[in-house]
């Protein structure tokens, strides 16, 4: 029993093998990812870097289960998500992934608390339980006092913190972040990265972050470089 448990603990959370993805434009096929192999351990914080068009966002989307590969396998916690149907994939995302976007993607007609509550509607929770989870997630990102504010009443940094609270509120194993500081100034970006690093350390979340910014990448434990859809060895990240 113990040996099995240790084996499970040692297995990577994300296991990608021979992953390929191409886009079709008319009769043209443009390969974006070609035979990517990648392992990400549990509670690891990795940064995906690479020039524009290298395929890093595509890889992130595939890991998050919002895109489908043309070939290869993506196993997350032992589940090959490439084989899941539309409905199963939606359920899987709701339970296992928190997504942080570059432009926050908050619903403008809902308050900060309501935005954070949205993913919980898919969980079997009472209204009171949902509100408790929302309060706790907003406290984690230090936005309790802004719970009733609408996105247009919040700064970019505050909106991103709401988005992080929304990604965390369902307590997913995996957080994926697509250029989370891309739309923020340097100081606010640093605050967001510090928050991500803190959440990673305190909650032990596995984080996969796409970034252009070497300073942002330095917050990760490991850097993964992509060039023309292929993984290349890169310098080690700063780690913690």
């Amino acid at each position: 029993m113990n040996a099995g448990r240790n084996l499970a603990a040692a297995a990577p959370l994300i296991r990608i093998r021979a992953l390929s993805r191409a886009y079709r434009r008319g009769t043209q096929t443009i390969p974006v990812l070609q035979g990517v192999d990648l392992d990400v351990q549990r509670a690891e914080f990795i940064a995906l870097m690479g020039p524009s068009g290298s395929g890093k966002s595509t890889l992130l989307n595939l890991i998050a289960g919002i895109d489908k590969p043309d070939g290869g396998r993506i196993e997350i916690a032992g589940v090959d998500i490439a084989q899941l149907g539309e409905g199963e994939l939606a359920d899987w995302r709701a339970a296992h992934v928190g997504f942080i976007f570059q432009f926050y993607n908050l619903l403008p007609v809902l308050s900060a608390a309501e935005n954070v509550e949205l993913p919980l509607l898919l969980a079997p929770l009472t209204r009171r339980e949902r509100h408790e989870h929302v309060a706790s997630a907003l406290a984690m990102v230090r936005l309790t006092d802004r719970a009733d504010h609408y996105p247009n009443e919040l700064s970019g940094g505050q909106q991103q913190r709401v988005a992080i609270a929304r990604a965390l509120v369902t307590d997913p194993q995996l957080i994926v972040a697509d250029e989370p500081t891309g739309d923020l100034d340097r100081v606010t970006g640093a605050e967001i990265l510090a928050l991500l690093g803190d959440l990673h350390r305190r909650l032990g979340k596995t984080i996969v972050m796409v970034t252009h910014d070497p300073k942002a990448a330095a917050c990760a434990e490991r850097l993964v470089h992509l060039e023309k859809g292929v993984l290349v060895d890169g310098p080690a990240a700063g780690g913690h």
């Binding site: 995302r93 709701a94 570059q102 993607n105 809902l110 949205l118 898919l122």
Partner: protein, 386 residues
């Protein structure tokens, strides 16, 4: 609750656009309701007819009369339980614009066959006693401000001369569809006055016989028996149910009715197209939000339902406002058309059809954009933000 809030807030997001769509819906639904009411008003006589009454008229045309002597023979037909008769008078009250139907009837037998004309006992007795007296419906009395005891002067068109009738009673309809815009007076008064004017040579003739029967399912057989009595006579008869008799009038204007019904449907189709455009714009603007909801784990069907629900919510709000607006509008039109229609009332069926039309508009308008967003590629949707 959160989803309901999201729906409501989404509906009010572009206030001007939502308001204009709502105004369009109110106009379309109330216009649809008004036109339906107009068609209903046309058929009001048909609706008010009883299945236990038959009408016997001259087989050639309604403009040809029948001898009163037929009455006794019709009364003897098996299945006939009552008989009365009436003549169309066609008088003018002050001016032709004040048109209303006037009938010379045999009062006792006529009122017995039409229990839906509710007349107070004292007024009924006064009417029966006074051979020159007349009764009118409540709406007609209200329209011209007539009270019991007033003298009603009519200029005869079929029966020339000026005729004056003392008003002996005002009847109230038992049903909303009962015609309260008619006038009845004594057939005997008409016959005697006509004799005086035309000379003793004029015979006793009636426009139609109204035949009362006990068993509605026997209507066809009794009609045949009555008509068989007068076959090959100088005045052959045509007997039909009161409903069929009323429908024969409506059928004269059937082309107009079909046109009105077509226009009412076209209005619905137009607002459907307008609203479909609104919902398509809404869906296009919110692609990134729908994609975000999908990322969070909401299914394509859920996101589509969100859009359909928003469309239905706007349509139902417009539909309810349209229904509410129809009643005062119908009252206005009813007043403007005067005595042209016996009844001009918005029916329950019309209200039901208006609400159904609103639901269909909401559903159809959102069908295409909902289908599009159900097939939304999440990655492409997210790019809309950038």
């Amino acid at each position: 609750m959160l989803l309901l809030r999201l729906l409501l807030k989404n509906c009010l997001r572009h206030r001007l656009r939502s308001l204009l769509t709502l105004v369009g819906l109110v106009v379309a639904i109330s216009a649809f309701g008004l036109l339906r009411t107009l068609v209903d008003a046309w058929y009001a006589g048909v609706e008010a007819s009883a299945s236990t009454r038959l009408v016997t008229r001259n087989a050639i045309s309604l403009t040809f009369t029948l001898p009163l002597s037929y009455a006794e023979r019709i009364r003897g037909v098996a299945g006939v339980s009552g008989l009365s008769w009436a003549n169309w008078f066609g008088g003018v009250y002050i001016t032709e614009r004040n048109f209303f139907p006037q009938f010379a009837v045999d009062p006792e037998s006529y009122l017995a066959l039409y229990p839906e004309y509710g007349l107070a006992d004292d007024q009924k007795q006064a009417f029966l006693r006074d051979r020159q007296g007349a009764i009118v419906g409540r709406k007609l009395a209200d329209k011209f401000g007539w009270k019991v005891g007033d003298q009603i002067p009519l200029r005869g068109t079929i029966y020339p001369g000026t005729w004056t009738f003392p008003l002996r009673g005002i009847y109230d309809g038992a049903e909303p569809s009962t015609d309260e815009q008619q006038m009845f007076f004594h057939w005997k008064y008409l016959r005697e006055s006509a004799r005086k004017r035309a000379g003793p040579g004029s015979s006793d003739t009636v426009g139609v016989f109204i035949v009362g029967i006990d068993d509605a399912s026997e209507a066809a057989a009794i009609s045949q028996r009555i008509d068989a009595l007068f076959r090959n006579s100088l005045a052959e008869t045509l007997t039909e149910t009161e409903k069929a008799f009323q429908l024969s009038f409506v059928s004269m204007s059937e082309a107009i009715l079909v046109a009105i019904e077509a226009v009412s449907l076209i209005i619905i189709v137009i607002i459907m197209a307008v609203m479909a455009n609104t919902m398509a714009m809404t869906a296009r603007e919110r692609l990134a939000e729908y994609a975000t909801l999908r990322v969070l784990g909401f299914t394509p069907a859920f996101v589509s339902r969100l859009l359909i629900a928003e469309s239905l919510l706007i349509a139902i709000a417009g539909g309810l406002a349209g229904v509410a607006a129809t009643f005062p509008l119908a009252a206005l039109v009813g007043r403007a058309t005067g005595t042209l229609f016996a009844v001009f009332q918005v029916s329950h069926l019309t209200v039901g059809l208006q609400l159904l039309a609103a639901l269909v508009i909401g559903g159809v308008a959102s069908a295409w954009p909902a289908w599009r967003i159900s097939r939304l590629d999440i990655v492409s949707g997210l790019r809309q933000v950038a």
